[in-house]
């Protein structure tokens, strides 16, 4: 059972009155992450909504030492910092518990532009947590397609809908043989909290990806952020799982979909609630387009179910 809401700590690392849009899934997620990490941590950010949300100098909306780095370099910069703090500790220049070094990066900075440095850091098994808050597009620059954008989705660079399926980034990270990988989303804060606490206590490279439904990019109503996150999970469009040393286990409610105990909700409702999909579902090819979206989801469920059976 995931930690209940009432048991989550009081700690607030995301400060009120920051620069994020109302209803922002990224700040919502980061708030829960903050409760798990506490204040003894160092945060790295690549250009993204979460940088814009930090607010204006001399004020800062996050209660950590924050370092803004270039798009391509989250992996390498976090590696440098994690080695530096370890050496400072060795030389006695840093007292007490080592701070958690973590990157807070969008899907653009993870799936695409930062992939190489992240892959290298994972292969070195450097001691850090890489968080990808995945709003399935380059939102901060006005919603362009990324490797995380699902097929059939409108962005300003896919005006007739993206033609390719998204990649399974969490699985790619797991295949680097790192000790911990997890997926989460904002509707399930207890699940997210537990995964971050777990990651914090494992040495080496950890990767946590959080689906972050962004009302602006996905074109739904602002108050529905959490609803959309829940629908993504119930339809199987987003699977909650974690892998410790390469052994995959699924979390509630995705575990029921994987085991076949519960059928995923048909994707129609999830898709029709979002302008990024439904604006392209008005023509005669609508049925075929929905079938394609459903097909990608079904394939991913079937694939992950089989992949989880490999436990060697």
């Amino acid at each position: 059972m995931a930690t209940s809401i009432k048991k989550l700590p009081d700690t607030e690392q995301v400060l009120s009155g920051n620069g994020a849009c109302g209803g922002c899934p990224a700040t919502m997620a980061l708030r829960i992450v903050g409760k798990a990490l506490g204040s003894n941590a160092i945060m790295l950010l690549t250009p993204s909504c979460s940088v814009a949300s930090m607010g204006m100098t001399p004020k800062l909306g996050y209660n950590w030492p924050c370092i803004n780095i270039t798009f391509a370099s989250a992996g390498s910069s976090a590696s440098g910092i994690t080695h530096a703090v370890e050496i400072m500790k060795e030389k006695g220049r840093l007292q007490g518990e080592l701070p958690t070094v973590f990157s807070w990066v969008g899907d653009g900075g993870t799936y695409d532009i930062g992939f190489q440095a992240l892959s290298a850091a994972a292969e070195r098994n450097d001691n850090m947590i890489h968080f990808c808050y995945n709003n399935e597009a380059y939102s901060n620059t006005g919603v362009q397609r990324s490797g995380a954008t699902p097929r059939g989705s409108f962005t300003t660079t896919t005006p007739t809908g993206k033609r390719q399926p998204k990649k399974n980034m969490a699985l790619l990270m797991m295949e680097h043989n790192i000790p911990y990988v997890a997926t989460a989303t904002v509707a399930y804060p207890g699940d997210l909290y537990d995964k971050v606490v777990k990651a914090k206590n494992i040495p080496g490279m950890k990767y946590i990806e959080i689906l972050a439904p962004c009302y602006l990019g996905w074109q739904f109503d602002m108050p529905e952020t959490v609803q959309m996150s829940r629908m993504a999970v119930r339809s199987g469009a987003w699977l909650l799982w974690e892998a410790e040393n390469g052994k995959i286990s699924f979390n509630n409610p995705s575990s029921h979909i994987i085991s076949g105990k519960k059928d995923p909700a048909p994707v129609d409702e999830y898709v029709m609630k979002q302008g990024r999909f439904n604006r392209l579902l008005k023509g005669p090819d609508a049925t075929q387009r929905i079938a394609e979206i459903q097909g990608d989801i079904d394939r991913e469920i079937a694939f992950m179910r089989e992949r989880a059976k490999i436990t060697i």
């Binding site: 809401i5 009432k6 989550l8 009081d10 607030e12 995301v14 400060l15 009120s16 009155g17 920051n18 620069g19 994020a20 849009c21 109302g22 209803g23 922002c24 899934p25 700040t27 919502m28 708030r31 829960i32 949300s53 930090m54 607010g55 204006m56 100098t57 001399p58 004020k59 800062l60 909306g61 996050y62 209660n63 950590w64 030492p65 924050c66 904002v186 804060p189 602002m222 108050p223 529905e224 952020t225 959490v226 609803q227």
Partner: protein, 86 residues
């Protein structure tokens, strides 16, 4: 040996209101009916702004952006979004 490390000072410090008084962004204000509220804290956990007091369920309107997430997630219907100019 002389230290080669230069001390860099941060240019920003953690403070509320880094985006200004974001309460002025609101078009609608969440109003809690404390007769109905069962203190489940759902609104508190989902509020992206951390403006809800989890014990008293009181909202800090200086920074609440009026997103309405709390009202949608409240299982008892205790939160109503009221138009700001009314």
């Amino acid at each position: 040996m002389q230290s080669v490390t230069k001390t860099y000072r941060p240019i920003s410090w953690p403070m509320k209101g880094s985006g200004g008084d974001t309460g002025s962004w609101r078009t609608h204000r969440p109003v809690v009916d404390h007769q109905i509220c069962n203190k489940c804290q759902f609104c508190w956990v989902y509020c992206p702004e951390a403006v809800i007091d989890r014990k008293e369920i009181i909202i800090d309107y200086t920074y609440c952006k009026g997103c309405g997430v709390c009202a949608v997630e409240c299982p008892t219907g205790a939160i109503t979004m009221v138009k700001e100019d009314e």
